[in-house]
């Protein structure tokens, strides 16, 4: 990557287009703050929003001693070899975002992690919303169009304070030779809300992740929504977990998975460990090629006052639905594409419009291939 790249705008046209599909915006007036990392190099970090900081994690570690209280607290260092790899790094990379008490952004913050050269990209991100604060983060992760092999290992720790809200929307656009190992967890305090959305409809070699939300305060809420499409030779082993540890906390884990020849393992685990808690897992899969969709929902009730349920359905598109649309004059291909589009259309409650639009756009971009 040439040294004169100062931001998204300096990238070649084709690469910009790719990043735009992951929801990243060149025009900073549409974003409250931004973090941009190519390989291991931090290109840009900053925030225009009042009460919200965006810093490279290395700088934040030097500046704020209290960061120790957050660093490797939600995700344990020794969790697996990937977390251990990130923990070993002498020069940590990643973004630190903190919204101070009561600070809110209307515009989303964006983080862009771009893998251009043949090697491992590692990041460690800390996202904090203090009491009553509200943060919307969109992270686009992509690799350069030229076909590099590589791995991306990302640790992200979210801290949702009392009555605070974090929405994290991650849109991936990797290459067929890239493997991706996100390792994230969220601590959600009393009355806090954590919405995590994940979209990947482009080729990738392998994605493996299983983020956990720890609901640690009364009435805390978490929702994970994942929309993935496994093309041939892609493997997704994705899941999400919620530990309903305090009274009245709740979680919803929603997945829409399509295979066109690749493999999808969709895991989900909700633990109801306190009274008045509610958890639901919903996984729907469409098999459109010789691929595999394996749904493994687990619900674990530990007290009487918890209410947990799951719902999983995997299959092909119903012939009856295709013919219904054909009877209105659509061709078989148009009917199929229309049904797939609808299948992926998970409207996420509480998500700002701009972010929902980005998700819709990612699906639209993939629609040509349905």
């Amino acid at each position: 990557m040439p040294a004169d790249i100062k931001g998204l705008g300096d990238l070649p046209q084709q690469e910009k287009e790719r990043l735009r599909q992951t929801g990243l915006e060149e025009d900073m007036t549409k974003r409250a703050g931004s973090y941009f990392q190519i390989n291991q190099e931090v290109i840009q970090a900053g925030s225009q929003a009042e009460g919200i900081e965006v810093l490279p994690i290395s700088e934040a570690l030097e500046k704020y001693d209290e960061l120790k209280e957050y660093y490797w607290k939600a995700v344990p260092k020794e969790k697996d070899k990937y977390t251990a790899y990130v923990a070993r790094q002498k020069e940590p990379r990643g973004v630190f975002i903190r919204a101070r008490e009561g600070a809110k952004t209307v515009l989303p913050l964006q983080a862009c992690l771009y893998l251009a050269a043949e090697r491992v990209q590692h990041v460690h991100n800390i996202i904090i919303a203090e009491k009553g604060a509200e943060v919307h983060l969109i992270s686009g992760c992509a690799s350069a169009t030229h076909n590099v092999a590589g791995a991306h290992i990302g640790v992200t720790e979210f801290y949702v304070g009392e009555g605070a809200k974090i929405t994290s929307t991650m849109i991936h656009s990797w290459g067929a030779k890239i493997s991706v190992f996100p390792r994230s967890a969220a601590f959600i305090e009393k009355g806090g809300t954590f919405l995590s959305n994940y979209v990947c409809l482009q080729p990738v070699k392998k994605i493996e992740m299983y983020p956990t939300a720890f609901l640690r305060g009364e009435g805390a809420m978490a929702r994970f929504s994942s929309i993935v499409m496994a093309l041939p030779a892609s493997t997704f082993d994705i899941g999400s977990r919620a530990i309903l540890g305090e009274k009245g906390s709740s979680a919803e884990l929603i997945t829409r998975a399509i295979t066109r020849g690749g493999n999808v393992i969709s895991r989900g685990h909700v633990v109801g460990a306190s009274d008045g808690t509610k958890g639901h897992i919903e996984c729907r899969g469409l098999i459109l090629g010789d691929g595999l969709i394996h749904a493994i929902p687990e619900i674990e009730g530990k007290v009487m006052g918890t209410e947990l349920s799951h719902e999983a359905a995997v299959g092909k598109i119903a012939r009856e639905e295709i013919e219904y649309l054909m009877a209105r004059g659509l061709t078989e291909e148009e009917s199929t594409a229309t049904i797939i589009r609808g299948f992926l259309d998970v409207k996420i409650q509480g998500l700002p419009d701009v972010l929902q639009k980005q998700i819709d756009a990612a699906i639209d971009a993939a629609e040509k291939g349905f």
């Binding site: 119903a318 009856e320 639905e321 649309l325 009877a327 209105r328 659509l330 609808g342």
Partner: protein, 243 residues
């Protein structure tokens, strides 16, 4: 416009329709009656070309062309439209979006069409998801209004529709069938399944048929058939092939 000759249809591995013969001329609307389970919906679905019912023998000819083996969408292109008795729900597909796709070139907005059937509130809903019985019927008619077929297969348009909406639907269907045009100019036609005959309050039908156990057992004037069935039940139709 539509000719059916010696048609045999299986569902699963069971023959449901035996030796059906039917002829509907351009500009004509016929009604189809018969007991529950006699095969009426199956016949409509076979005419539309769905893969559930399988034609094992016979011919379906539309506008002079043999369409027996034609895909569903090509039949739609040729001008056949259907109102389903029990349409499927399609998750994530908004009624409004489908209508926009079906509309293709035409200028009138979907909202205008929807208003005419009191349906604006449903445009933003997933198609058929949680629609009430009457809403399903109106949504089906709305789709036909936008599609503008030449020949309509209507499966029980009146069942589940309240009186007020029935008037709205009846008038819309009559308009679709060009009942407001003079006989000689009328080009559109249809085949309507009805149990009650209420639809006949809004449009005149040119012929009636009674299907019993997969066979058409009598032809005649629709109002006469209705009268006989009301009085003495379908048994009476068996006695008399022509009412």
């Amino acid at each position: 416009m539509l000719e059916i000759e010696d048609l045999h249809v299986e569902v699963g591995n069971k023959e449901i329709l035996h030796d059906i013969n039917l002829r509907i001329e351009k500009g004509e609307t016929h009604v189809l009656m018969g007991p529950n389970g006699s095969g009426k919906s199956t016949l409509l679905m076979a005419i539309m070309g769905f893969s559930g019912p399988r034609v094992t023998k016979g011919l379906i000819v539309f506008k002079g062309k043999d369409i027996t083996d034609m895909p569903v969408n090509e039949r739609a292109k040729m001008g056949i439209g259907i109102m389903f008795q029990r349409p499927p729900t399609i998750a994530g597909l908004k009624l409004g979006k489908l209508l926009n796709v079906v509309k293709r070139g035409n200028d009138q907005t979907i909202e205008d069409y929807a208003k005419s059937l009191n349906m604006e509130a449903l445009l933003n809903r997933d198609i058929n998801r949680g629609f009430s019985g009457g809403e399903i019927k109106r949504s089906e008619v709305l789709q036909l209004i936008v599609q503008k077929p030449d020949f309509m297969l209507l499966d029980e348009p009146e069942s589940g529709v309240d009186l007020e909406n029935m008037a709205l639907m009846g008038r819309s269907i009559a308009h679709l069938l060009e009942k407001d045009r003079h006989l000689v100019h009328r080009e559109k036609g249809g085949l309507i399944i009805t149990h009650t005959g209420y639809i006949l309050d809004y449009l005149d039908a040119d012929g009636g048929h009674v299907l019993i156990d997969g066979e058409i057992r009598c032809h005649g004037n629709p109002r006469e058939i209705l009268k006989v069935v009301k009085r003495s039940g379908y048994r009476e139709c068996l006695k008399c092939p022509q009412i």
